[in-house]
């Protein structure tokens, strides 16, 4: 079976499973909306200060919801030994990994697609002022989150404390992604020159490329028994 074929099969399996149970996306979505609402209490209603923090609030809601979803999605894989069985099959282990990355990315994207319009209504800001640039920020940021998040969720579900380890490992390493995504959203919301967002897009792109390559290189060694 070809590499991309395997990736797609894993992705298809996850999506079918999710359509049946709807556990991951639903819990992520409710949590992400809840974060959006709870974080609105940090400033007075209608205050102009909100424009400077909305990018951060939106991304924090994705990050927290993402942490929740990653744990859930990897737990179903480990309980019952499905992951073990997949790794025993005669395919490249990293193709299984990137299949999981693709499905985690899709789950997060689904949450973002629903959260962003509701967020826009509640906060009365237009994060899409950057047009294609905003879309790239969401795309690259979510991919960076998914690629390292999937790896660290695999690591953390194998520890004694299970999901506790995931945020402790993932958040410090994701600092560039969080910083770049939040800062570029702020540039669009505050109506600054969009060219200011290019360095941040570059950081996101570099982060994504480097860690895709690194995980691709080391994944086989990490999972071999």
């Amino acid at each position: 079976m070809g590499y991309f074929n395997t990736v797609f099969c894993i992705f298809r399996k996850d999506i079918l499973e999710e359509f049946k149970s709807k556990e991951v996306v639903n819990s992520m979505l409710v949590f992400s909306l809840l974060v959006v609402v709870v974080f609105s209490f940090i400033f007075e209603p209608g205050s102009d200060m909100k424009n400077e923090v909305v990018g951060g609030i939106l991304w924090m809601s994705f990050v927290f919801a993402g942490l929740l979803g990653l744990n859930k999605s990897m737990m179903t894989e480990v309980q019952g030994g499905n992951l073990q069985a997949l790794l025993l099959s005669p395919v490249d282990p990293s193709s299984i990994f990137f299949g999981k990355v693709l499905s985690n990315f899709t789950f997060m994207a689904m949450v973002e697609i629903i959260t962003i319009p509701i967020f826009t209504v509640l906060y009365n800001v237009n994060v899409f002022a950057g047009g294609a640039l905003t879309a790239s920020v969401f795309f690259l940021g979510t991919y960076g989150f998914a690629v390292l998040g999937t790896l660290f969720s695999l690591i953390s579900v194998n520890t004694r404390t299970r999901e506790v380890m995931l945020p402790l490992l993932l958040l410090p390493i994701l600092v560039p992604v969080i910083l770049a995504s939040v800062q570029s959203l702020n540039i669009f919301v505050l109506g600054h020159d969009h060219a200011l967002a290019y360095p941040w897009l570059k950081i996101l792109l570099i982060f994504d490329i480097i860690f895709t390559a690194v995980v691709f290189a080391v994944f086989d060694f990490i999972v071999e028994e």
Binding site: P172, P176, L179, V214, V218, V223
Partner: protein, 221 residues
């Protein structure tokens, strides 16, 4: 006499010599006064923590390639020593910062990166404690050791873009106008801290090996 004993004996002589160089030989700084003395310990600790994490990075790769637990022992030991010195950097830094800039903390790229670095390796050490199976622990920790280290420059550059306002840049400022005698004291401090690192590493690796042997014996009985 074993190499380790020679190293330890050398340190017994060199550490007081280093203190002499920092406190008596090097002149007192004009603007900062005796506060500046912390610089020798701060810079040397920063160097050791980066060096130690680099050693963890290299031995993590070697472990994944060679599947030899002795590399894992070095990776673990080095990360622990690195974290110790990183903690020293983060405590001496604000003391110096308060005297030099009037603030304990600025979100300068160097400071922020060091703080993130600290969190990454706290995570690394916690992860090791939470996995019981030897080979699983070694493989997963190696992944964090490799990814964490590669992440550091990206963190640094992203924070530099964030804080493009220039904060007082101690090392560059100091390096340019540092008195030659201060420079001597600093190089002596760097050398002594490096030797201290190797001395601690040898002891910590021996402890890790003993633990591994003990666990194996326990399983066998």
């Amino acid at each position: 006499m074993s190499k380790e004993k020679i190293l330890d004996a050398a340190l017994i002589i060199l550490v007081p010599f280093g203190l002499y160089m920092a406190f008596i030989y090097a002149p007192v700084a004009k603007s900062l006064g005796p506060n500046q003395k912390i610089f020798y310990f701060h810079v040397a600790s920063a160097w050791i923590s980066f060096f130690a994490f680099f050693v963890t990075f290299c031995t993590s790769i070697l472990y994944l390639m060679k599947d030899d637990f002795s590399f894992d022992d070095i990776a673990e030991s080095s990360a622990e020593i690195g974290l110790l010195f990183c903690t020293i950097v983060l405590t001496t830094g604000p003391v110096w910062g308060k005297a030099a800039w009037g603030a304990w903390w600025t979100w300068d790229p160097r400071l922020t990166t060091t703080a993130i670095l600290w969190f990454i390796y706290v995570g690394y050490i916690m992860l090791r404690k939470f996995i019981d199976e030897d080979s699983k622990r070694a493989r997963f920790a190696a992944a964090v050791g490799i990814i964490g280290f590669i992440d550091v420059p990206i963190v640094f550059f992203s924070i530099r873009i964030w804080k493009n306002t220039i904060h007082p840049n101690v090392v560059q400022k100091g390096g340019g106008g540092l008195h030659p005698m201060m420079l001597h004291a600093m190089f002596v401090a760097l050398l002594i801290f490096t030797l201290l690192y190797f001395s601690l590493l040898i002891k910590r690796v021996r402890l890790a090996r003993a633990r591994r042997r003990f666990a194996a014996l326990e399983r066998a009985s």
